[in-house]
Amino acid sequence: MTRQLRGRNAAPRRSAAQLSRGRAWWAVLFIGPAGLGLVVFYLWPIIRGIYLSFQDVGPFGGETFVGIDNFVEVFSEPDLGRALLNTLLYAVICLIGIPVAMIIAVLINTKGLKGRSLFRVLFFLPVVTMPVAVALVWRLLLNVDYGVLNLSLRAIGLPGVAWLSTPVVNMVVIAIVGIWMGLGTQIIIFTAGLQGIPDTLIEAAELDGAGPVRRFVSVIVPLLSPTTFLLSVLSVIASMQVFDLIFLMIDPNNPAQSQSQSLVSLFYTRGFLQHDLGAAAAIACVLLAIILVLSAIQFRLQRRWVHYE
């Protein structure tokens, strides 16, 4: 995956003209199904979503053009700002998962480490566990009266915390669960990146007298920067769309529920509880714009810190 991002230094590709006509047809044949899926499941919904954001949509269809009314409505309510702040908070905290994943990846790839595959399985387990199960287990751990966390705090004389029903605190907690769930994937991608670092470089550093920490900071971290960049872009895109963990961990009876909405949960409330698909589509468009801007900023900033070999 890192290879794709090394555009400039990649092996020269053959131009399309060099492909014979027959081979081009084969290419179309192979790309076709995926391309069709892309159009039907991604491109069309995006176009349709943008279209709907300018319509007033009845609960059972029936659309009337209303110009930018939906956007005016969405922007004039305090919910959007609050949801945006919550979502950004979540996204920022999730970024902390990346250095953690990097350190773990380096540690479990240490030569001669015993039980390496066991560690890999353990860290990857949350990734393949259903979010519903993850949310349920964490809710038990975080229970204000009977949760392990609060029981431990009380045992050492500290007061318990209402982890999931205190605004802001609950977003931090949910982001930590989000990190925990995504760690496995990030470790795998870092492992792939680590395997791309030539042993000779590490050995050279060792001969120059660099200890493990120095080797990590001065050799491994810079050489992994393309992977780090990839993961940070993916992480921001994914965490800006957080919904399932919030939906599963914050019940409607939670006193902090209205202060704990993300942009997508606001979208869900508007579209599927309040039956206002136009306003929901407007929120989705706002989210799309925000993600585009954030990704563009990340691509700009990469020149400052990403080193392609």
Binding site: F60, V144, D145, S165, N253, N254, Q274
Partner: protein, 403 residues
């Protein structure tokens, strides 16, 4: 998987052998076997009809039905509930059942009211539920209190709740659960207020009576008789009650089977009617599901006939035996009471007489989240009752004006 089943079950016409297929969509898997039996009976009486039952889990039910109906691929007959009924009826998605020979007099009045829109009956009442007070005799004995009985009052309830509470040991008198139907809707009605005007166009929250009904629960949290909302969201109060650590819990008739068979309290559980409020009434919210026929069904007459059959006497008899829900057809409810021999389940049937329908409007699910949000802030002490309810009423009126 469910989506595939739903899709497969969508087309309403044409079995290979010239028979007609009706799709019946529900959300409760537990009720499927009994309803299959009912459907078999309908098939026996109508030899050319095949009934397919589709179960959509309740969390996805309304979004899926709405999508299917918008695309014209909805079921022929499906369950509707109070909060969603008028959205479907007012948008022409349901077929009126007036000409099917269904007798309104066969069903509790509050249910007929609930499923009547613009003077027509659009849903055949299937079952109903009322609210009662489940209590733990052991905790009442320990506190030296008499058991709750018909005729008891708000003051008795508050007194018992406070005496039983022992937060240090995790024992609470009751729970101010922020669910209107189980708690504050009832007390608002008992105080002489209303959640929404009878015609469903204005909020009733800006009255002193509504404030009294909400304050009842805020006080119970404030004096420690109930866990806080933060505790209630982490531990479902029904579980606290089931484990023998709660004196009284207001819950629906639907939970009677669960509580009366919960190991820790099976021997000490009792049921009492709701306490009498300031107006001298102990009104309970009455809600229930209905079977409705889609106005877009390709076999409209048959779909209407099946919806009415599903809510008829024969169907009610089959369902009552399973003791899951109280059938709505008058005179068939005794089997449900009999199946719950360890508690006085008659309490729930009696509550229908003095009950009031669940408050709804054309787009109920639009204002319920707003309502719950304000009530939660009031119950947790972030807003004082009067200010909070005034703001709630204003916001609710805005949403109602949009309907």
């Amino acid at each position: 998987m469910v989506a595939a089943l739903a899709l497969a079950g969508c087309s309403s016409s044409g079995g290979q052998d010239g028979s007609t297929t009706l799709n019946y969509t529900i959300w409760d898997q537990n009720q499927e076997p009994a309803l299959r039996e009912v459907a078999d009976e309908f098939e026996a009486q109508n030899p050319n009809v095949d009934v397919e039952i589709t179960v959509i889990p309740s969390k996805d039910y309304w979004t899926k039905i709405q999508t299917q109906m918008s695309a014209g691929t909805g079921p022929d007959v499906f369950w509707v509930n109070g909060p969603n009924f008028q959205l479907y009826a007012s948008n022409g998605q349901l077929a009126p059942l007036d000409d099917t020979g269904i007798e309104a007099g066969d069903y509790p009045e509050s249910l007929v009211d609930l499923y009547t829109y613009d003077g027509s009956l659009y849903g055949a009442p299937k079952d109903f539920d009322t609210i009662g007070v489940y209590y733990n005799k052991a905790l009442f004995d320990a506190a030296g209190l008499e058991y709750p009985a018909a005729g008891w009052t708000w003051a008795d309830f508050q007194n018992a709740a406070q005496k039983i509470s022992d937060p240090a040991n995790g024992v609470y008198g009751t729970a101010a659960a922020p669910y209107g139907q189980m708690t504050y809707y009832n007390t608002i009605l008992q105080a002489g207020g209303e959640v929404i005007s009878e015609d469903g166009t204005t909020s009733g929250y800006d009255t002193p009576e509504a404030a009294e009904g909400v304050q009842f629960w805020a006080d119970l949290i404030a004096n420690g008789s109930s866990p806080t909302l933060q505790q209630l969201t982490d531990t479902w109060p029904g579980d606290t009650f089931s484990s023998g650590k709660m004196g009284m819990f207001l819950d629906g008739s639907w939970a009677a089977g669960t509580y009366s068979s919960a190991e820790a309290i099976a021997d000490v559980i009792g049921v009492a009617p709701l306490p009498i409020g300031p107006t001298g009434e102990n009104t309970s919210v009455v809600h229930g599901l209905a079977n409705a026929a889609s106005a877009k069904s390709e076999n409209l007459e048959l779909a209407k006939e099946f919806a009415v059959f599903l809510s008829g006497e024969e169907a009610a008899g089959i369902q009552a035996k399973t003791a899951t829900v109280i059938p709505a057809f008058n005179g068939t409810q005794q089997a449900w009471v009999d199946a719950l021999s360890t508690i006085d389940a008659q309490v729930f049937l009696d509550a229908v007489e003095t009950g009031a329908p669940l408050p709804i409007s054309k787009n109920t699910t639009a204002w319920v989240p707003v309502e719950e949000d304000y009530i939660k802030q009031i119950l947790s002490g972030q807003l004082d009752t009067e200010t909070g309810l005034k703001e709630l009423a204003a916001e609710m009126n805005d949403l109602l004006a949009k309907e």
